[in-house]
């Protein structure tokens, strides 16, 4: 249960004064302004903010989908700021697990195959079946996405994300497309993965209630971090309500 204690591990990822400016036609939009934060081994962090707060931009930069306009990004002490396209692909391939709001499963592949898609290209993956067992879908692994409910699809997505044993699990509004009950079930799977595998997990959401399951909560507004708060009384997802 060591992981459950909060910020005791080493720094996995460091964000140092990162800014991001988008040029939209003739207008420049500052999506991030001098954002700094560290993420530690084994912790579960909730990144909280309304739409337009810059949380997705930060997640994209952390996940290697985007590069900062200014500032630095460190992964395991190695600077990622100057990484090229190939380095970023390798980074995503080996170190990052993604869970998306709309699951983004490959519709032509079964649950098991969707997970295998990742295990095929990872250096030390867990068995795809094992990953599905972890999300309690061992019995539905030969179903296609169209045969699964939304919650089930999202659990497959989680299994797919963790099967490579990523260093960092990034969940972008994982319950955004799900109903209340199913959403809680999915959050419980995320908790379970965080606790049982010790994967550093970052959940971004606009749903304040979800913050209660985090070790730390990062509040964002207008491209800036307004507060980083340590959650002293961590709740399990089943105790959450919104």
């Amino acid at each position: 249960m060591a992981y459950n204690q909060g910020s005791i591990g080493q720094t996995v990822l460091g964000v140092d004064k990162v800014s991001k400016v988008y040029t939209m036609g003739e207008v420049k939009v500052e999506a991030l302004r001098h954002v700094s934060a560290d993420f530690y081994e084994g912790e579960l962090v909730v990144l909280l903010g309304t739409s337009g707060s810059g949380k997705s931009t930060l997640l994209n930069i952390i996940g290697g989908l985007d590069v900062p306009s200014e500032g630095r990004l460190y992964f395991r002490g190695k600077e990622m700021t100057a990484a090229n396209e190939d380095d970023l692909t390798a980074y995503r391939r080996e170190s990052i697990g993604f869970v998306f709001q709309f699951y983004n499963l490959i519709s032509s592949l079964t649950a098991l195959e969707n997970v295998q898609l990742v295990t095929e290209i990872s250096p030390e993956p867990m068995a795809a079946e094992e990953a599905l067992k972890l999300v309690s879908l061992a019995d539905r692994m030969n179903h296609f996405p169209s045969q699964l409910s939304g919650g089930e699809q999202q659990r497959v997505a989680i299994a797919r994300a963790v099967a490579k044993r990523p260093e960092l699990l990034l969940c972008d509004e994982p319950t955004g497309a799900l109903d209340y009950k199913t959403g809680k079930l999915v959050l419980d799977v995320i908790r379970k993965v965080n606790e049982e595998l010790g994967t550093t997990t970052l959940v971004i959401t606009h749903n304040v209630s979800i913050a209660a399951m985090a070790d730390r909560v990062i509040h964002m507004r207008s491209g800036e971090i307004t507060e980083i708060e340590r959650n002293e009384r961590k709740l399990s997802p089943s105790e959450l309500s919104w």
Partner: protein, 787 residues
């Protein structure tokens, strides 16, 4: 509607590469249609006006010698409109600058220029003058091939006397639109020419005063050609008639009519293929467009646009590229038509081949392409128009996959996930997969069929020039000679080998069918001249009986074992019955062969020959040629090699041009199908592919998934295309074959290799273009939206 049009325009621009591909396919189809139909019309109308302006005859007949007084009897035959008698003679020529002897056909003309049947169009110079027996009008092609000018002189041996002819005019005639030596199929314009000269001069030179040996006539409206021919045959039997015949047996008309028919065939097949592909492409492109714009359609309807307005808007996506294609295709078609007309001017000697372009062709091509656009767009547009707005607002139901071929146990482990994605996608939409394969296969087939004619002609050249003939030249005597003529030839230095044969004009009759056809008497089937069939296999001359070419046997409806009635048209004009000893499938013309001694026996005229094949010593050819030029009995010589060269030269350019055009068109077709297929897959699966990129797959890995699908389609399409191509070629062979020649069904390996290379190159090229787009996938945007 203004804003909708703006939307249409902008979105068309955004999809420009896909739309251009559709437009290009339409343009190919329309251009073939416009060019072929305009050329067909141009040839037809040029021929018709040439025939009528220069009074081309309807019925022709050669006789040995008939008195001029017979003309009155001919005029009295019911149904005869106008008659003309002529003296026609084939002679050996001595042309300045040409070593070997050439052959000339001398055709008599009235001394004063008056309108006559089979008249001469004077291109340059003047008409012959009375009192100048040496003056001639020479055929344009012959003069051009030999670089002759007005005022030049040509030597001729007429009736054993050497004469000098002076060219005063350059002319052409509807009788010789296709100008070949008698008995030949390929034009050799350097060594054969037609000369029109004074009737008086020819009468004197050939001792034909008050007589003629050639008759032509036109028929009155509604007259029966068959009846007139019957009457002529009866009337002129005793004057050595070789049988009257209509235009359908007149060689030049036959060639040009066959050509027009062949052009006509090409009007339908290729455009149909191209338009079918355009329909398919429009359909898949529009279906995709409509499904990505479901929400927009819902909004439009919510705002109060009617179903018709929305429907028309999307129909615009089909109409605009098709209209562009139709306009471009029409322009290209006119340009191709003009070019093709130029090619035909090389083959056929028209006074003036006018390229006619008619409004009907434009109208029809617009109609055809609008039809294609409508058919292609309709099902896609109908689907969306019928959706109620609220339903259209909702995202489309997710794609349903079912376990398929790959989900059998034995495959489970072995196949990488990326391959499974590819195969499932192909499996899920079997119809689309099948149609895509067929469309790409069409491109392969067009390549195969396009080069097929090249292979066929090469094979024909091989069989005709190498397989059948081993002689260097053929000399034709102006009438039957005793076989002892061989001693004369042998005495000439340089003749290494000689082989005589005998051509005996006859009428072959079986049941109610009959045909004018010379019988060739040969000594052996394996001498200098060999009897070989379409596949270059040797055929034996039967010991007794007659050997007919397959086409001739078909015309007569006769089979080996049946007995043929033969009416000889010369000498004792005997009528005999001869068993058919076999058939031979020859590529060119119609022939009937038998052993020369059998022919001698049947005609009761022994030891007669009409021509000889010679093998000569190259080092002594010059002297030999000089001797031939002065030999009195020689009506003409033909040189095999020269004929081959001139034919190859004639055909080479048009073959290259048609190969280039067809290859380009087929490439456009293949590109449009493969590229649009990949682009639509990309659009459908951008989200999936981006997700994969986010999950850590490299660009190449997702490119493999996307392009792998197109690669498999292409790979399946190639053998299918080979089969369709072979089928199409066989149809082409059947359609293009006539009594004059049969297209052999042969394919070179290179044909298939070439098609393979072109298709693979085109597929790679479209792959590279799509790959380039893959690199620009927006990974972030796609994750934020539901499709």
């Amino acid at each position: 509607m203004k804003q909708l049009n703006r939307k249409l325009l902008r979105e068309l621009l955004r999809m420009k590469s896909q739309m251009l591909a559709v437009a290009a396919v339409v343009a190919c189809g329309i251009s073939v249609f416009v060019s072929m139909s305009s050329v067909e019309y141009s040839l037809k109308s040029t021929k018709a006006s040439y025939y009528s302006d220069y009074r081309f005859a309807d019925v022709f007949m050669q006789v040995k010698r008939a008195p001029e007084s017979m003309l009155e009897n001919v005029r009295n035959i019911q149904g005869v409109a106008a008659v003309r008698s002529r003296i026609v003679a084939d002679v050996t020529l001595d042309v300045p600058g040409l070593n070997e002897p050439a052959s000339g056909r001398l055709v008599s003309m009235p001394d004063r220029k008056v309108p006559v049947l089979n008249d001469v169009f004077l291109r340059e110079g003047r008409y012959i003058e009375a009192g100048h027996p040496e003056e001639v009008i020479a055929s344009e092609t012959f003069m051009e091939a030999n670089g002759l000018k007005i005022g030049d002189r040509v030597g001729a041996v007429i009736n054993g006397r050497w004469k000098e002819l002076v060219i005063v005019g350059m002319g052409l005639s509807p009788e010789y639109i296709y100008e070949v030596q008698p008995g030949a199929f390929f034009p050799d314009n350097r060594r054969f020419g037609v000369f029109w000269m004074s009737r008086d001069a020819l009468e004197a030179a050939l001792d034909m005063t008050g007589a003629f040996n050639d008759l032509s006539l036109t028929l009155a409206h509604g007259a029966s050609e068959k009846d007139v021919i019957q009457r002529l045959d009866d009337m002129f039997r005793r004057y050595g008639s070789l049988g009257a015949y209509g235009r359908s047996e007149q060689l030049s008309d036959r060639f040009i009519s066959d050509e027009i028919k062949q052009v006509g065939i090409q009007i339908t097949v290729l455009p149909a293929i191209f338009l079918a592909v355009a329909v398919f492409l429009l359909n898949i492109v529009l279906k995709r467009l409509v499904s990505t714009q479901r929400d927009q359609i819902a909004v439009m309807k919510a705002m109060g646009y009617t179903n018709e307005e929305v429907g028309l808007h999307y129909l615009g996506f089909a109409m605009v590229p098709v209209a562009i294609g139709a306009v471009a295709g029409t322009a290209l078609g006119i340009w191709l038509g003009l070019g093709l007309t130029k090619v035909y001017e090389d083959f056929y000697n028209f006074a003036e081949l006018i390229y006619y372009f008619r409004f009907e062709e434009v109208a029809l091509s617009v109609l055809l392409s609008a039809g294609a656009a409508l058919v292609g767009a309709l099902s896609a547009v109908k689907r969306v128009v019928s959706l109620p707005p609220a339903e259209a607002m909702r995202p489309e139901a997710p794609v349903v996959y079912k376990p398929g071929f790959l989900d059998r146990k034995e495959f489970q482990k072995k196949i990488p996930v990326s391959v499974r994605i590819i195969v499932r996608n192909l499996e899920r939409r079997r119809w689309k997969t099948a149609i895509s394969v067929i469309m790409i296969a069409f491109a392969v087939a067009i390549l195969i069929a396009g080069r097929y004619s090249y292979d066929a002609i090469n094979h024909l050249i091989l069989v005709e020039f190498s397989g059948k003939h081993r002689e260097d030249l053929t000399i034709i005597f102006n009438e039957s000679r005793p076989r002892s003529v061989q001693y004369n030839l042998a005495s000439l230095g340089g003749v290494l080998e000689q082989e005589f044969y005998r051509e005996e004009p006859a009428k072959l009759i079986y049941e109610h069918r009959s045909r004018r056809q010379s019988i060739t008497g040969l000594k052996t089937s394996d001498g200098l001249k060999r009897l070989v069939d379409a596949h270059n296999r040797q055929i034996q001359l039967p010991e007794t009986g007659i050997l007919l070419t397959t086409t001739l046997a078909d015309i007569l409806g006769i089979a080996p074992g049946d007995t043929l009635t033969v009416e000889f048209l010369q000498g004792k004009r005997r009528t005999v019955r001869v068993p058919v000893g076999g058939t031979i499938d020859e590529l060119l013309g119609l022939s009937a062969y038998m052993r020369i001694d059998n022919l001698d026996r049947l005609t009761e005229e022994a030891d007669m020959v009409t021509a000889a094949y010679l093998r000569i010593d190259g080092t002594e050819s010059e002297k030999l040629f000089a001797d031939f030029k002065e030999m009195p009995d020689v009506a003409g010589t033909s040189m095999l090699k020269a004929m081959q060269e001139s034919f190859e030269e004639l055909i080479a350019q048009s073959m290259t041009t048609s190969t280039v055009i067809l290859t380009t068109f087929a490439s456009i077709l293949a590109f449009a199908v493969v590229y649009n297929g990949a682009r639509i897959s990309l659009s459908e699966r951008a989200r999936e592919l981006s997700s994969l990129r986010v999950l850590g797959l490299t660009r190449h890995e997702i490119a493999f998934i996307l392009l792998g699908e197109q690669a498999i389609l292409t790979a399946i399409a190639i053998p299918v295309g080979f089969l369709i191509g072979i089928g199409l070629s066989v149809l082409l062979a059947l359609a293009l074959s006539s009594e004059l020649y049969r297209m052999p069904v042969v394919f070179s390996n290179f044909n298939f290799v070439f098609a393979l290379i072109v298709i693979v190159a085109v597929a790679l090229f479209s792959g590279i273009m799509v790959h380039y787009r893959l690199n620009r996938l927006d990974l972030i945007a796609v994750l934020k939206t539901r499709e």
